[in-house]
Symmetry: C2
Subunit: 171 residues, 2 copies
DNA sequence: AATTCATTTCATTTTGAATTGAAAAACATC
DNA sequence: GATGTTTTTCAATTCAAAATGAAATGAATT
């Protein structure tokens, strides 16, 4: 029995159960990434690093997740950009290793600032532009659309004032 | 000049500027739908109805948005399901006509209840399951993963307690 | 400066979600 | 119940986004 534990525990300096957990965390984060409109591979990589006590090299990531070097390279780049992971090159080290930052903030900020806000701004201004064109319309239609566009405009305003709140709460 | 206004105003009982505005509202809502992981066509349809004083038949929707009957049929079904639009069949009427409901709530509720919550629940429980497996691990690794999974678990908890707040604020 | 290994780039391929459209079904009308 | 019309269904297609992997680049080492 202790033999069994031993066998299932050590494998190339790594614990087999840890590898399983890491792969599952990769899946969990892949789902979450997808939920927020990001490629699942981004999530996988982050999840793996999140569940890895030591930082990992790209090669290790590639083999543990069974993804291509291209996907890994681009995914790592984006994660570094969004400050979700930290690249670290020890002095005598040939490779760069990546460690997960453990805060939510990068993700929340990324989602709010890069996805939500710009698109809300955009549709906001399109609606405003449409409102300025209502004057041309015949009265009965005009009145209906005035109230409706006004309503849509208020939604946007509310949503935008709500964003900082989310950031403060989750970030 | 009044001739110009007249010409650009009446066309088959409909105002040409209204059609343009409707098409643009369809685009605006298509973007928003996409943002929340829904097919853009859903948004288009809703946007058109939102900007239409009178309810529209499927046929009218198909031709104004230039989409297929299949897309229209399925999109209408989903919008009715999520209570974003209202089907109405007048007594002497051959076709069903659809009118937009003007509240945000259906969308917010749909997104929160059908997309966010279930997936948060799912990853939550996967993480909980992983936590129960940590006991097998060798101590140093175990301690690290304990704190990290605990952290991920707290994120989920926070996010879940946050949802009702969003609903109340936007819904 | 030549070699080796890590990383990036990017043209191609894969994948999967959304859309199409034709056929079937449902529905209304005579 | 036969006819004409609207709506649904679903196999096939389309298409954009993601993934691949081989070649180019870059960096360290001898």
């Amino acid at each position: 029995m202790s033999k069994l534990v031993f066998e299932s525990t050590i494998r190339g300096g790594e614990d087999v159960s840890v590898l399983k957990i890491q792969r599952e965390m990769a899946e969990v984060f892949a789902d979450l990434a997808d939920l927020f409109g990001n490629p699942a591979s981004l999530g996988s990589i982050y999840g793996l690093l999140f569940a890895s006590p030591e930082p990992l090299s790209m090669e290790e990531i590639v083999e543990r997740l069974d993804i291509s070097t291209g996907t890994a390279s681009q995914g790592l780049r984006r994660l570094v950009e969004m400050q979700a992971i930290l690249p670290q090159k020890e002095d005598g080290d040939r490779v760069t290793r990546y460690g997960a930052k453990l805060e939510l903030r990068p993700f929340v900020a990324m989602f709010l600032n890069q996805q939500l806000l710009p698109r809300l701004e955009h549709s906001s201004s399109r609606i405003a532009e449409l409102q300025s064109r209502l004057a041309d319309l015949t009265p009965p239609t005009r009145r209906v659309l005035e109230t409706r566009l006004e309503r849509a405009s208020k939604w946007h305003h509310r949503a935008k004032t709500f964003l900082p709140l989310i950031r403060r709460f989750l970030g």
